[in-house]
Amino acid sequence: MDAIRRALLPTEEAQALFELTEELGREELAPRAAAAEAAAEFPRDVFRLIGRSGLLGLPYDEEYGGGSQPYAVYLQVVEELARHWLAVGLGVSVHTLSCHALAEYGTDKQRKYWLPDMIGGEQLGAYCLSEPEHGSDAANLTTRAAADGDEYVIDGTKAWITHGGQADFYTVLARTGEPGARGISAFLVDSAAAGLSAAEPEHKMGMRSSTTSQMVFEGVRVPAERQIGELGQGFEIAMRALDCGRLGIAACAVGVAQAALDTATAYAKQREQFGKPIIRHEAVGFLLADMAARTEVGRAAYLAAARLRDLGLPFARQAAIAKLHCTDAAMQTTIDAVQVLGGAGYTTDFPVERYLREAKVLQIVEGTNQIQRRVIAKALERG
């Protein structure tokens, strides 16, 4: 761990956690990432391993088996995982997102009953908001949850679900009332529930080892005690979870950008053209300088938002800014990394073409960057 990272980690405990993450990344993630990406193989065993190491419940309360870590620490762990393997870093972020509704809005009884298993390391979660016809405009989602005695019956199709078909539990947003944002409620659905099935995984341009698929709900019966928060509070619950999730995506983006920067820098120091290492050609050196500046500013941005959150202050605007900046920065940085490597960068002999494909998805998930700008503009207007 370098001195800068040490300075960004507030306690000896957090430093030890980061060192553990570094070791797991170096020994268990890095050697497998490229092959799993090429084969589109979901690494369930890797999640089990990092789960047993305690990385699947870091921001949640120790009382329920979590790590009680501030977001500023948890996010750096996500960044470090994503630096080695985006599918794993993003998977941890999505899992954490899918536990958010219960952890923040569940009753004590609900939390005691389900949370320890969800964050204990053996289970993996998924978050079901998007639908085929309602992506950015999620408030108009149409998946229905109809009350039937002491159960709800869920019907509809959720789209683009990370860990679809792999997860052990699904946090699902479904309509229980009026049209629009106020008619939505949140449910915690067990993967074994009858009538729940995953469609064929999507064929993606990158992050292929992270399974993304539609989840089809056909008369899925869910006991009423699995409804989380107030009836009609679901959209608010979903948006508060996304505020946190966006920080996870920002951290992932910084991890990918850092990986691209490191590869490009090492290459530029040893590759000689016109009689000197290409890093000494100003055009290349400045490219690398801009990549480094964007990446470090990105880290500072997500940490600033995280500190607000850790202090219990509003942070939605800062989270949107961090998500927007970090993912746009990762896109530009990975494009530039390919450029620095020249022809070699365009081949699969080097990881930078993969980083480029991975960065793209981060501009789309958990609110496209257009939607982030909408969030920021609305916050500016409100003042």
Binding site: A16, L24, S53
Partner: protein
């Protein structure tokens, strides 16, 4: 059963190491220190034995006063407590002097079994396990690739060039393990937090009742007289196959007296 595992902090094998020009010893301050990799297998084996038979694991480490990462890692993996021997007068100890100091530490502990890694990645002498067993007057079972404990007996597969020997002894005994033996666990975050609350006994020579003259530079019987940097590896020969590749290769091997 009570198991003592000896762990050593070594310079990161991946880092560029150099010798201190004054002492001709490895400059440990210049690179990151971490637990000797083979010792992680020793810790894992001890943890597995205790999980099976009950008992506790004590780690013992000796080194400069900032060489705390090795025993901390063992505590994070699950060892119950640590003993850390550190004294300026220990600097420069060779294998003989080291075994003297460690034997003395073991004299203060209760144990049924002592486990070590077969070698440390810095000096790679593989001497300490045998020296220690000799000093303690205990049976030594070295290069173990499998360990079984049955009551007061221990049986190990001892790795050899041609396979393995099965070696048995009565407890207490000293065992050194090889990397084949198991797959060391990663610490968990909970293990890391718990480790900070585990007891660590700090010892120095005075506390141990050991004379400074019998360890360190003074007590070591091997001396490094001179050291030179290894010459860079000579360039390999590339044979381009233009129909006669086979005979070229045989000619090369013959010139080196391999065939």
């Amino acid at each position: 059963m009570k198991i003592v595992v000896l762990v050593k902090q070594v310079p990161d094998t991946a880092a560029d190491k150099r010798l201190d020009p004054d002492t001709l010893a490895v400059d440990r301050g210049a690179v990151d220190g971490l637990i000797n990799e083979m010792d992680e297998f020793a810790v894992e084996e001890a943890l597995q034995l205790v999980e099976k038979h009950g008992g506790e694991v004590t780690v013992v480490s000796m080194g400069p006063d900032d060489a705390t990462d090795a025993y901390k890692k063992a505590l994070q993996m699950g060892a119950d407590k640590a003993v850390f021997l550190s004294d300026p007068a220990l600097a420069g100890s060779d294998a003989l002097a080291t075994s003297e100091a460690l034997a003395k530490v073991l004299g203060t502990l209760e144990y049924d079994l002592v486990i070590l890694g077969s070698e440390a990645s810095d000096a790679r002498t593989s001497l300490v396990p045998a020296l220690l067993a000799e000093r303690l007057g205990l049976p030594q079972l070295t290069f173990a690739s499998k360990v079984e404990v049955d009551g007061s007996a221990i049986r190990v597969n001892r790795l050899t060039d041609y396979g393995h020997d099965v070696v048995e002894a009565a407890l207490p005994a000293v065992v050194s393990v090889v990397e084949k033996i198991n797959e060391p666990r990663y610490p968990s975050f909970k293990g890391i937090m718990a480790a900070k609350k585990k007891p660590v006994e700090a010892l120095d020579l005075a506390g141990l009742g050991l004379d400074a003259g019998s360890v360190g530079w003074a007590g070591s019987r091997s001396k490094v007289l001179d050291a030179t940097v290894a010459p860079p590896r000579a360039k390999g020969t590339i044979v381009t196959d233009e129909g006669n590749g086979g005979s070229e290769l045989v000619g090369f091997l013959a010139s080196k007296k391999f065939v």
